[in-house]
């Protein structure tokens, strides 16, 4: 069975939820972070309003999440269940619930400057859908009716406000979760507790309900009808419902907010009388009528339940059918005159602003934008993804006053690029080194050297950039051990020796200290690295910088060594050096290196070398970040030791969007 179903907004507020088993909030949080914010795993188009089945399920911690998203309203629908279970009907459930919810509460969700959504009544629709889909999936038998009974019981007890005097045996075992269920109840309303445990297939509960149902058969038809009508509403619904109270309408009529106007009356008053929680004057007027029902409240569930469910079934089917019709039949609209007029007003709007953007408006300028990015050396697949995501973001939006489409696109692209390139957490290298080498006296962490290693293909400038970082650290008076981890290419150790000698000379007066650790050629790089880290911590070095052998990213044998290396040396930072140059396979390189460190370990950042040689063509940066989700941390900008910079997102975005 389902563990949890949640409806939440992009601003982070859960507007409705139903929980059958406690699920850590961190699961949904990491789902949002990975899928929506960091867009991991190349889930391009994840933001589409597409059906659940087309969205890749998200798996975390033995749970599977199925989800769909309404872009227009900014609402995410997510179902969480144990990965072990195979629930074929979940996709349909999520889709249907989305359709129903959007239909009933779309207007409320569109209101600006509020996070309140009154949707307690959604409980029933949810139950109805679960019951219907589950039973259509299950073999015919007693199960469907049992499910109906239980979910009905739920609607009733949800009704009674804070502490429902539940019949014995109907005590819900998951009362603790109910705290999480108190959804947007407003200031004056009694918080509505929606007992949420009942699994339709729990035999114990359903038997009890059946048993309870017995005596009620004797009830008068009128009373039953009253019960019936009072069942679905929940006492917390207020606002629109209360207004409706003044002028009750005949029959069940659903207003825009999804409340059954007439029935709500009865219901509200009833709960007020029963709980004495809402002291409304109108309630008194009707309380006599209510009391007569009060005595026989408990158990008309069976008969009444079926009434309710019937009504609901019809309504839900209506909603779903009309949504279906809308999606199939909305393609043709407007005649020649109509479209002529809209073209003219479109042109006008394009100048004055306030134009609603359509796919047609966007196609040409967006393709232009894509070409522009490709000219800046952005890999085509990255450019296409950026185009699609910006286009998707813009469709249906209005341009601001006196804003042209191009300006709007440029703004959106700037935001998209900034989001993509900005690392999840910013790096303050010196601060991190300090935290590791000189931990605060309160914490129990022992001081140890900070380990950085650089990897990359042959000839991209690993040793050079390592020396640049070394120079920077020496200037700040750190003790650095440089490790010759390239035990493969002849001359590599000597090259590093020269660097270290130069650095020593250059920084003598700064007060830093640098030594070389080398074990000649032929040894195992991982072991050398581990020994070096040990030596460093014995001799009081602050930072260990490990150079590694350059390797081709498609060389299986050498690449597989990296996993052992990462395990043995256990660096705080594994940085990959990549070139900014035009026309190499930087994307494939980055991807292969990123995947080579074994389970749970990835690259921590990129150093992009030779940025001074490419001018504005810094697209490589976008390509590799797009492919790996690993941030660029440093850029190399010249031949000298001081020619290394921390990567500035603003700088890169400006270069990417500049027109020359």
């Amino acid at each position: 069975m389902l563990d949890t179903f949640e409806i939440l907004t992009t601003s982070g507020v859960v507007v409705w939820s139903r929980s059958y088993a406690a699920v850590s909030p961190s699961i949904v949080n990491s789902f949002i972070t990975d899928v929506f914010i960091e867009e991991k795993g190349a889930i391009a188009g994840a933001k589409d309003d597409q059906p659940t089945a087309s969205n890749p399920p998200y798996r975390a911690d033995q749970h599977t999440l199925k989800w769909t998203f309404s872009k227009e309203l900014g609402v995410i629908f997510v179902a969480v269940y144990r990965s072990l279970l195979h629930l074929s009907w979940i996709d349909k459930l999520v889709d249907n619930l989305k359709t129903i919810f959007v239909d009933l509460y779309g207007d409320q969700l569109k209101k600006p400057n509020t996070t309140l959504v009154h949707c307690h009544k959604f409980d029933e629709y949810f139950d109805q859908q679960v019951r219907q889909l589950e039973s259509s999936a299950a073999v015919k038998g007693s199960q469907p009716s049992a499910a109906a009974l239980v979910s009905d019981d739920e609607a009733v007890s949800g009704n009674l406000g804070d502490e429902p005097p539940l019949p014995p045996g109907l005590k819900h075992r998951s009362i603790a979760q109910n705290g999480a269920q108190e959804l947007p109840s407003t200031t004056e309303s009694t918080p509505v507790v929606t007992p949420s445990n009942s699994r339709p297939s729990t035999p114990g509960t359903s038997h009890l309900v059946v048993g309870k149902g017995g005596p009620m058969a004797k009830m008068s038809r009128r009373a039953r009808k009253m019960q019936n009508t009072s069942a679905p509403a929940s006492s917390g619904d207020e606002g629109p419902a209360r207004k409706a109270k003044k002028a009750p309408k005949k029959g069940r009529k659903w207003n825009a907010d999804g409340y059954a106007s007439e029935e709500d009356d009865v219901q509200l008053d009833y709960s007020a009388a029963a709980n004495a929680a809402t002291s409304e004057s109108e309630a008194e007027g009707r309380s006599t009528a209510m009391e007569s029902i009060d005595s026989s409240t408990w158990g008309t569930k069976t008969s009444k339940g079926q009434f309710v469910l019937k009504d609901l079934d019809d309504e839900v089917n209506d909603i779903l059918a009309s949504a279906q019709a809308k999606s199939t039949g909305s393609s043709s609209s407007g005649g020649l005159v109509n479209s002529g007029f809209s073209t003219i007003s479109g042109l006008f709007r394009n100048v004055v602003g306030g134009k609603t953007l359509t796919k047609e408006d966007l196609r040409k300028p967006m393709d232009g934008m894509k070409e522009h990015l490709i000219k800046k050396n952005v890999a085509p697949e990255a450019a296409v993804r950026l185009r699609d995501s910006v286009e998707h973001e813009l469709i249906g939006l209005k341009t601001g006053s006196f804003e042209s489409i191009d300006a709007r696109i440029a703004k959106a692209m700037e935001a998209s690029l900034t989001k993509m390139l900005t690392p999840t957490s910013s790096l303050d290298l010196l601060r991190e080194v300090d935290a590791v080498t000189r931990p605060s006296t309160f914490s129990s962490v022992k001081p140890r050297p900070y380990v950085i290693s650089v990897v990359g293909v042959n000839g991209v400038g690993k040793s050079t950039n390592l020396s640049k970082i070394c120079f920077f650290l020496l200037e700040n008076k750190y003790k650095v051990l440089v490790v010759a981890g390239d035990t493969f290419r002849s001359g590599a150790v000597e090259q590093l020796k020269v660097h270290v000698r130069n650095l020593k000379e250059l920084t003598q007066r700064e007060g830093g200290k640098v030594e070389l650790f080398e074990k000649g050629y032929g040894g195992d790089a991982a072991t050398v690295a581990r020994d070096a880290v040990r030596t460093a911590s014995n001799e009081g070095f602050d930072v260990v910088l490990i150079d590694t052998a350059g390797r081709r990213h498609n060389d299986q044998r050498l690449m597989s060594n990296l996993e052992k290396f990462a395990k043995f040396a256990n660096p705080d930072k594994i940085l990959m050096v990549g070139e900014a140059l035009v026309g190499n396979d930087s994307v494939a390189q980055a991807q292969n290196f990123n995947a080579s460190f074994g389970q749970g370990r990835t690259l921590d950042g990129f150093i992009i070398s030779k940025c001074d040689t490419v001018g504005d063509m810094v697209g490589t940066i976008v390509s590799i970040v797009h492919a790996t989700n690993v941030p660029v941390l440093f850029v190399g900008v010249g031949q000298h030791y001081e020619d290394i910079r921390s990567f500035s997102v603003k700088w890169a975005v400006k270069k990417l969007l500049s027109n020359n």
């Binding site: 601003s11 914010i37 309140l116 407003t186 900034t418 900005t422 601060r431 991190e432 200037e475 700088w651």
Partner: protein, 284 residues
């Protein structure tokens, strides 16, 4: 046809009615356009309070608590900024946020916008932009998780550093032209209900120490790409938070830039946010 000619002739001949009508049009059109535009964007002029802080600190929870007045609702990671229109009492008629959230709260009140921002590292751009925007920003509430400050000290302080620096620069910019009004900062040490939560005084001293260290290391850090060599020296001075050259950082150093910093503990979960609400009411 003749009619039209006649009509044109009348309009084009200088006469009192024509002048009057012409003058009216010239005067009224700009006024009407102004009203049209300003009514189309009704919310821009409300004073605003910004909720800012690291992820999972409880910003969105606080927002929902203040809006509803009884309880916060469950929340997850935010992706967008969300404004909510709230009211404060101007005559002391309402004491707590619980009353203020009611529609029929007594006394006279004033509306303002509470703006929640996402804390995720990739989404901070817009929050930072709001500090520098010309909005009538009245205060910044930096929400942090006092129960996990030990683990998150670096990340929290890093963000706080950026926020404080933005506030400082905002005042610095003003010195040349007309001075912008001061924007103060409240450090809301949330989750005091948990037993691991640090008291406000410790939150303050830990953050001050960490901010001092960050200030040191940033001043020595690598230059950002795109910064030319010549600009270096100005930059140094400008990016220094608080009293220039001071050994230790203290929040009181921010007074030099008209930024008052208060540290107050509280708990959204238990509804103990009255002190924060008072702080907000005072700024609006």
């Amino acid at each position: 046809m003749d009619d039209l000619k006649h009509y044109l002739e009348y309009i084009l001949t200088p006469s009192t009615p024509v002048f009057v009508v012409g003058a009216l049009i010239v005067l009224l059109v700009p006024i009407l356009v102004h009203f049209y535009i300003s009514s189309a964007t009704p919310y821009t002029n409300l004073p605003s309070i910004l909720l800012i802080g690291p992820p999972g600190a409880g910003k969105t929870s606080l927002l929902t608590l203040l809006e509803r007045g009884d309880n916060a609702v469950p929340t997850h990671t935010s992706q967008i900024t969300q404004s909510v229109e709230l009211t404060v009492s101007t005559d002391g008629g309402i004491q707590s946020f619980r009353d203020a959230a009611r529609d029929d709260a007594p006394g006279s009140h004033k509306k303002f916008m509470l703006v929640d921002t996402p804390g995720h590292g990739k989404l901070r751009e817009s929050a930072m932009a709001k500090i520098n925007a010309n909005d009538p920003l009245k205060g910044v509430v930096f929400v942090l998780d006092a129960s996990a400050l030990d683990e998150n000290l670096q990340a929290t302080a890093n963000y706080l550093f950026d926020v404080l620096l933005a506030l400082q620069k905002r005042m610095g910019v003003g010195k040349t032209s007309k001075a912008p009004h001061a924007v103060h900062l409240l450090l809301a040490a949330n989750k005091a209900d948990l037993f691991t939560a640090l008291p406000a005084s410790l939150v303050k001293s830990n953050l001050e120490a960490e901010l001092g260290r960050i200030r040191q290391s940033r001043s020595k850090g690598l230059k950002a790409s795109g910064v030319a060599v010549g600009e270096m020296d100005d930059e140094d001075n400008e990016d220094w938070l608080g009293e220039y050259g001071a050994e230790k950082f203290a929040f009181s150093q921010m007074r030099e830039f008209d930024v008052e910093v208060d540290v107050v503990g509280g708990s959204v979960l238990e509804g103990k946010v009255d002190k924060w609400w008072d702080w907000i009411s005072e700024r609006v």
